[in-house]
């Protein structure tokens, strides 16, 4: 008997339908479990749209477009970062129609596609609006210039000078150009007696006259800094040096809008939407005390409907509101300032370099207190750095360490090996008889692996997309020390062990606090003693493939270890008085001076990327010469209590810091006094209440300014010295015995061997 076509089709449909229902039920379950959202089994006017949220990369416009077709849509609620949205129709009928037609529907959003699963809900979160005032002294004037004027101004900038800038290109920094006077990063000030040969372009004159006429400024500015930001670029939070410039700072946003974040020393953060062709006027407290910065990202969360200008976007604390994602375009800002000729006498001495405060106020991090903070810290001080320095870094990592090679060579042919945190793939080819798979958090480094013919993928070490017990062996070399909390370090070890089959072995290397072991100084320290002024940049000496890549006595000089019994004894603390883990808990991260002993367990280690050395380092020290051309030296972070947030951007510090804004107080143009601002919701990136570390070094260094937190592009005029770029990477260096203690916390795992190798603590683990 044959089935009729109709019934065959019916059977087919029913199978697909069952699949859809299954997936939808799964989505309901997930919504309930993770977000407490209860779905209803009866028809209502409101729906929850799983996978249709801002967190899925779906914009309000895209979702609205799809949902409007179904009927009269009353509201759409999209909370930032959430993987769902809510929609309410005016009738149950419309909602039902939407449910029928959109459930299981594949929505295309640009490069992204999501499958929507709709369910009825009895209630949706309610919206409330908070009004947040703009920082005192700040105001925004919309439509300050016309489109024609905008085009003229943009055309007036000659960017040609920068195209050869390898560092700028390699680092993908925003472009900067100065007119009138140059801002110098080494002094964090302007050279007031040396005006540049190029003054402000003529095209600016009418605009500035308008500013004068409207009362935003009392005198013509004599300095202009033009910054051009591509999507994904930003500028770290900073306060413009008081002694360099007069009170009012004007900034014109051209080409695209952006969101700028202002941070007050007390922790308040205000995100301000700067529309294209608007003028931001910064005076008083907003200029002298609040820091301002632009988070490097490609999308901003902005109010969906154009709010009453100027809008401060409030921190969203569980308040969905009507937000949408706004893709960034190329934005060029023109910042006009007037050179200050006498010391600053403002009412904000804590931030004032004329009155004693350090001239640069970079934001500096402290140890994270929660997962979110930890992830953000690692994003800024590990992931972004590696992505930026990848080629340079890879060039210094070409010699595999002998003892790691020993481990790899001991594996049986055909073994499956996972290299978690594989970097540039240095170890993936050591033993060609094994199946080596690498993964790393840095896409740039993984691509280098691929170019070298290795198999690797991008992934986080805390969540490796491989099946449990799929590997015969794993290695994690110089990775776990980048995790900023003990919990995450433990989780990393756990994840590594999860991948192992019973009997499988893992090798872990982490940087040691004790760089001198058994009276042998590590190579890292040794280079310092030989040539003190050379190579400021030797990040991990032990992994630096400079002078002698061949096996030296030292690499085996680590006597006195590999005795498993030792691990059972109480681990002795380090010889000197070093801060223990608890002390460090509330601590502040200091910047380490390369080639010296560590004085703390949690720190930021500088990496110097010399201008033009974006390519693989050459020569003995990886091509990095210290020299008097290096304007930047390792310095302690200049820390100020006034900047309580984690630096948004640790792009290296060359080039003008500020992108300053000013506000008009008495203009007739469409500007409104700060307190009548209405604010819509958005979530500023990382408003973290981290306390600042105290400077570990003298404030002299601080005054020379931590380059790490200023903006990053080369100075406009090549006559200035070729400043090098400095990145800071976060490390938690391990005390003797510490990595073993972490490993012992993982069930089903035994420490087989443990040893010290050139400034690293190493363990070999076996899975039961």
């Amino acid at each position: 008997m044959e089935l009729s076509e109709a019934s065959v089709n019916a059977v087919k449909m029913s199978k697909e339908r069952k699949k859809l229902i299954r997936k939808q039920m799964k989505s309901c379950h997930i919504l309930l479990k993770h977000d407490g959202i209860r779905t209803a089994s009866h028809v209502t006017k409101s729906l929850v749209v799983a996978n249709g949220g801002l967190g899925n990369g779906v914009s309000r416009e895209q979702l609205c477009a799809a949902m409007k077709e179904m009927g009269e849509l009353e509201t759409i609620i999209m909370s930032p970062h959430k993987p769902y949205a809510f929609a309410t129709y005016s009738s149950e009928q419309s909602a039902q129609k939407a449910h029928g037609l959109l459930n299981g529907h594949l929505l295309h959003c640009g490069d992204n596609s999501v499958t929507l699963y709709l369910s009825f809900v009895d209630s949706v979160p309610c919206e409330a609006e908070e009004h947040v005032p703009l920082p005192e002294g700040l105001s925004l004037v919309e439509d300050f210039v016309s489109s024609e004027e905008e085009a003229l101004l943009l055309a007036a900038v000659d960017w040609v000078t920068f195209d050869d800038d390898t560092a700028q290109k390699a680092l993908k920094h925003r472009r900067v150009k100065h007119y009138g006077y140059e801002f110098r990063y080494d002094t964090n000030n302007v050279e007031k007696d040396k005006p540049l040969s190029v003054g402000l372009p003529d095209e600016c004159v009418p605009i500035l006259e308008r500013c004068l006429k409207d009362g935003h400024i009392g005198a013509m500015p004599d300095q202009l800094t033009v910054n051009q930001y591509q999507p994904g670029q930003g500028i770290p939070p900073h306060v413009d040096t008081h002694s360099a410039f007069e009170d009012t700072i004007l900034s014109l946003s051209l080409g695209s809008k952006t969101v700028m974040e202002f941070r007050h020393p007390d922790g308040r953060v205000v995100a301000v939407l700067l529309p294209g062709r608007s003028l931001l006027v910064m005076k008083g407290e907003s200029r002298h005390l609040w820091s301002h910065g632009i988070t490097p990202r490609k999308f901003d969360m902005v109010p969906a409907c154009h709010p009453e200008p100027p809008a401060a976007i409030t921190p969203d604390l569980g308040n969905p509101g009507n937000l949408t994602l706004s893709k960034r375009g190329t934005r060029t800002s023109f910042t006009f300032r007037r050179i200050r000729r006498s010391p600053c006498q403002c009412a904000f001495p804590s931030a004032c370099d004329s009155q004693g405060a350090p001239s640069s106020l970079p934001s500096a991090p402290s140890l994270p207190r929660c997962q979110g903070d930890a992830a953000r810290l690692e994003e800024e001080y590990v992931h972004r750095v590696y992505d930026a320095i990848a080629p340079h870094f890879s060039g210094t990592r070409h010699s595999p360490w002998p003892r790691v090679c020993d481990f790899l060579s001991s594996l049986v042919p055909g073994a499956v090996l996972a290299d978690v945190g594989c970097g540039n793939g240095k170890y993936l080819g050591v033993n060609p008889e094994v199946v080596a798979l690498g993964c790393d958090r840095s896409s740039a480094l993984v691509h280098i692996c691929a170019e070298r013919g290795f198999q690797a993928f991008v992934s986080d070490a805390l969540n490796v997309p491989m099946l449990t017990a799929s590997c015969d062996a794993c290695i994690s070399i110089a990775v776990i020390h980048h995790f900023s909390t003990p919990e995450r370090r433990l989780a990393a070890v756990r994840e590594l062990m999860r991948l192992l089959k019973p009997g499988g072995r893992a090798l872990i290397y982490v940087w040691a606090l004790e760089q001198e072991y058994n009276k042998q100084r590590s190579k890292y320290l040794k280079h310092q003693s030989r040539e003190p002024s050379r190579s400021p940049n030797t990040a991990e000496g032990q992994s630096e493939d400079s002078a002698s890549p061949k096996r030296t006595v030292n690499s085996h000089g680590d006597v006195g270890i590999t005795n498993v019994d030792r691990l059972d004894t109480e681990v002795s603390g380090p010889v000197d008085q070093r801060p223990g883990e608890d002390q460090v808990h509330h601590g502040k991260l200091s910047v380490h001076t390369n080639r010296t002993a560590f004085n703390s367990q949690d720190l930021l280690v500088p990496w110097h990327l010399k201008d033009g050395k974006g390519k693989a380092g050459k020569g003995r020290k990886g091509g990095r010469e210290a020299g008097n051309r290096d304007v930047i030296r390792e310095t302690a972070l200049a820390v100020s209590k006034d900047n309580p947030s984690i630096a948004e951007n640790i792009l290296p510090s060359i080039g003008p810091a500020s992108d300053c804004k000013t506000e008009p107080t008495d203009s007739n143009r469409r500007s409104t006094p700060p307190d009548s601002m209405s604010a819509k919701v958005a979530t500023p990136n990382a408003c973290l209440d981290s306390s600042l570390p105290s400077s570990t070094k003298d404030t002299d260094h601080a005054r020379k300014s931590c380059p790490g937190f200023e903006a990053a592009a080369t100075p406009a005029i090549p006559e200035s010295s070729t400043a090098a770029a400095v990145f800071h990477r976060y490390y938690h260096v391990f005390q003797q015995g510490e990595i073993e203690k972490v490993c012992c916390q993982v069930d089903g795992v035994k420490v087989q061997t443990s040893y010290h190798d050139q400034g690293n603590w190493c363990v070999i683990l076996v899975k039961d």
């Binding site: 993770h34 042919p413 008889e433 691929a450 198999q455 986080d460 997309p465 099946l467």
Partner: protein, 123 residues
């Protein structure tokens, strides 16, 4: 991304229980020449999820008449090993994506590199 690699990867989206194997959606595939080592291939076979390999190869149009079932005594079957070698090590997905069979979430493959990073809310 070679099919050998694909065979080891799984979806790790939170809440997903059946994330393996990932579905391959390829927009650019290339076939390289890789030196054949029969012993190596022979050793690999027991470590593989054979059906996932066949399914993936088929999806890419490179099945090379590999049978759905493993051939008995494959260690000595050079012809068979050569086919496996090709599918496992020579076929490469250059552009496309890997899709979680349960949640539908797609992980892009770009210039041969799969990006398996999850967003905050998927972890």
């Amino acid at each position: 991304m070679k099919l050998l690699t694909h065979n080891m990867l799984t979806s790790h989206v939170k809440g997903v229980t059946k994330g393996y194997p990932l579905l391959i959606k390829a927009t650019e595939v290339k076939v390289n020449e890789v030196e054949f080592n029969s012993q190596f291939v022979s050793r690999m076979i027991p470590k593989l999820e054979w059906s996932a390999l066949v399914q993936a190869a088929e999806g890419l149009g490179h099945l090379e008449d590999l049978s759905a079932e493993l051939v008995a005594d494959y260690e000595n079957n050079e012809e068979f090993l050569k086919k496996v070698h090709k599918v496992l090590l020579e076929v490469e997905v250059v552009e496309g994506s890997l899709q979680c069979p349960e949640s539908g979430r797609e992980f892009p493959i770009s210039r041969g590199v799969p990006n398996m990073l999850l967003n905050e809310d998927e972890v």
